[in-house]
């Protein structure tokens, strides 16, 4: 199969959906002429024109608010919030409008919009361009939250996100944009709310999301060499949460490690742990371990960021603790 990058896969999903459905349009800062700050939308202006790929003022509140209003009137907006950190400005439109539209209209209308945003730490961007925001939004009923880890999932999930009747937060890790992977050509959808077992194993379940999926897989490969068989589950969506896949795995392995880039405290891993504690406690052979960022803002520069973001070794260490090693 051909290989393309995560960036190209997202662009392909946008292009296919815009060709399929003329209601789909893109709006955001520098998305048209410049092709986006991460070049995801490069070339779409030339194909679809300025009424379907729209450069906006630096107005995150208006970008998402306008997407909500346009969605209500029958459009299918894909809004780009350049960096996920800027959702703070768009938070009202997301939380108080988009998420509650269907409910407060009593089922009459819904807001089928996608808000794409680049999240996660890289060495060069500083504290306000690097956060992982998924748990900020995970406690808001009405939202669907997606975090693809591979190019193939990015394409299939974005196409599904554009087609759902409900608002979707689509989180793209900025360090994944250049990652290559096999991506089918043409039409396919990845179901929203379905986790994917990226590697099967028997001894421990590692639940990971977004950028951390690759770290979990690397850890699993190393663990295999050392005789531990780890199952790696890529959540892909955190809302809906695929409890079934997690529970079936934990019932098999008896051990659970959860990995995300956001700080551990208050992070989405706590919710995954609670689901397992409530529904599969009897299957657990060891306390659940969580791996995530420290309780500090994301810093700047390669030395600090490298120390901040969870690594393969952190995942391996957490697995070892579930197997009886002492906590470092």
């Amino acid at each position: 199969m051909r290989e393309i990058t995560y960036r190209e896969a997202i662009r392909e999903a946008l292009r296919e959906e815009m060709r399929r459905d003329e209601r789909v349009f893109i709006l955001g800062e520098d998305v048209a002429d410049a092709g986006g700050v991460f070049k995801v939308t490069l070339g779409l202006l030339a194909e679809f024109g300025p009424t379907r790929v729209i450069d906006t003022p630096l107005s995150e509140s208006a970008i998402v608010g306008a997407a909500v209003g346009a969605a209500l009137m029958g459009m299918r907006p894909v809004a780009e919030v350049m960096f996920a950190d800027f959702t703070t400005i768009a938070m009202d439109a997301i939380v108080n409008h988009a998420a509650k539209i269907h409910y407060l209209y009593g089922g009459e209308l819904s807001a089928p919009l996608v808000v794409r945003m680049a999240y996660g730490a890289g060495p060069k961007w500083g504290s306000q361009h690097t956060q992982s925001v998924e748990s900020w939004l995970a406690n808001v009923p009405g939202l669907t939250i997606v975090m693809p880890a591979t190019p193939a999932d990015a394409k299939g999930l974005l196409k599904a996100a554009i087609r759902t009747a409900n608002p979707v937060i689509f989180l793209e890790h900025k360090m994944l944009y250049g990652k290559k992977g096999e991506v089918p050509e043409g039409e396919y959808l990845v179901p929203l709310g379905k986790a994917d077992i990226k590697r099967s194993g028997e001894d421990v379940t590692i639940v990971a999301m977004g950028m951390m999926v690759d770290r979990a897989l690397a850890a699993a490969r190393t663990l295999a060499e050392e005789g531990t068989s780890a199952e790696v589950i890529d959540l892909r969506s955190i809302q809906p949460l695929d409890e079934e896949t997690i529970l079936v795995s934990v019932e098999k392995t008896g051990r659970l490690v959860i990995v995300h880039e956001a700080p551990v405290r208050g992070g989405f891993g706590g919710e995954v742990a609670a689901v397992v504690a409530n529904k599969a406690l009897g299957y657990l052979d060891a306390p659940i371990r969580r791996v995530g960022g420290p309780w500090a803002p994301v810093p700047f520069g390669p030395v600090l960021v490298d120390a901040y973001v969870p690594k393969e070794a952190d995942v391996i260490q957490a697995v070892r603790v579930t197997q009886g090693a002492s906590v470092a």
């Binding site: 349009f25 009424t51 379907r52 729209i54 906006t56 003022p57 107005s59 509140s61 208006a62 998402v64 608010g65 306008a66 997407a67 909500v68 209003g69 346009a70 969605a71 209500l72 009137m73 029958g74 459009m75 907006p77 009202d92 439109a93 108080n96 409008h97 539209i101 269907h102 409910y103 407060l104 209209y105 009593g106 089922g107 009459e108 209308l109 819904s110 089928p112 009923p141 009405g142 669907t144 599904a160 087609r163 759902t164 009747a165 409900n166 959808l189 179901p191 929203l192 709310g193 379905k194 969506s237 809302q239 809906p240 949460l241 695929d242 409890e243 079934e244």
Partner: protein, 336 residues
Amino acid sequence: MGYVEQLTEKDLIQIYRWLVLIRAFEDRVGDLWSKGVLQESPHGSQGQEAIAVGACYGLRQEDQVLPSLRTRGAFFVKGVSVRTHMAGMYAKATGPARGKATTHHMGDAERGVLLGSAIVGASITVAVGAALAFKLQRKDKVVVDFFGDGAAQRGDFHEGLNFAGVFKLPIVFVLENNGFAEMTPLAKHFAGTDLACRAQGYGFPGIRLDGNDIFAVYEAVQTAVARARAGEGPTLLECVTYRLRGHSESHPPTELRDIAEIEAWRAKDPIPRMRASLEERAILTEVLAEKIKTEVEAEIEDAVKFAEESPSPDTGEIHKNVYAPEPPDLVVGRRA
């Protein structure tokens, strides 16, 4: 000929009837609130009715309005029933979203009312987005978006109006300047002389007018609507008015306000003003005015009875409509 001159006697009577209905509704819910029977706190629009009616009369059903928390009349003129609003004030299952939404911010898809927000000014951007959709769809529909002087100090006012100006969207911004943001008077939350002039900074006209003059409001809004329909972009209309009641019925009208100021504005009440104008032109008689009053009161009492007799929502309603049904070919995991 101006738009006002084109109004028939039937139109004028209908407009007057709307004013009387809204005032009677607001007075009645104020009375019911004081008796402790309502669940939703009334944020009365007494004194400001001419803005809602003047702006919404003559709009098409498919045009969208987005009322502020004090634009009660916009709902009624757009066709939302008095019964629905009264039932909503009682939090009954026959109210907005079967008891899940408040009347002040409810939406009505069929009648062209966009869902508002209890975050003052936040829905300006949503109204702008509806106008963006109309432009992209090449439809000649318009959006009329209402908000107060308090909302005009929100960041969303700037983001929304700038966005609308940049894309020349078919929207009319109706600023109900009643002189107060909750209890804070305009002079304490705005250092400029008028708010209409802000439109200049966004590249479209801003007009300040007497919001208690129903004819002035109608003329200005119709002109702005025609401009929007013709693809010429937005207009900001600063309608100067005064809130005769307190911020809500939980606040007395005299909270931080001088009674003399309230009385001075009472003399400029839009409803007697229109009545005098119609009587002068022999369009409205004493008998007809009395008939309208009686009919309106009967309509409101019917709504009160309807609301009182309506059931409360079933608690199962909590879980309905959190997510919209998906297209049949789309697979989505279990929501919760």
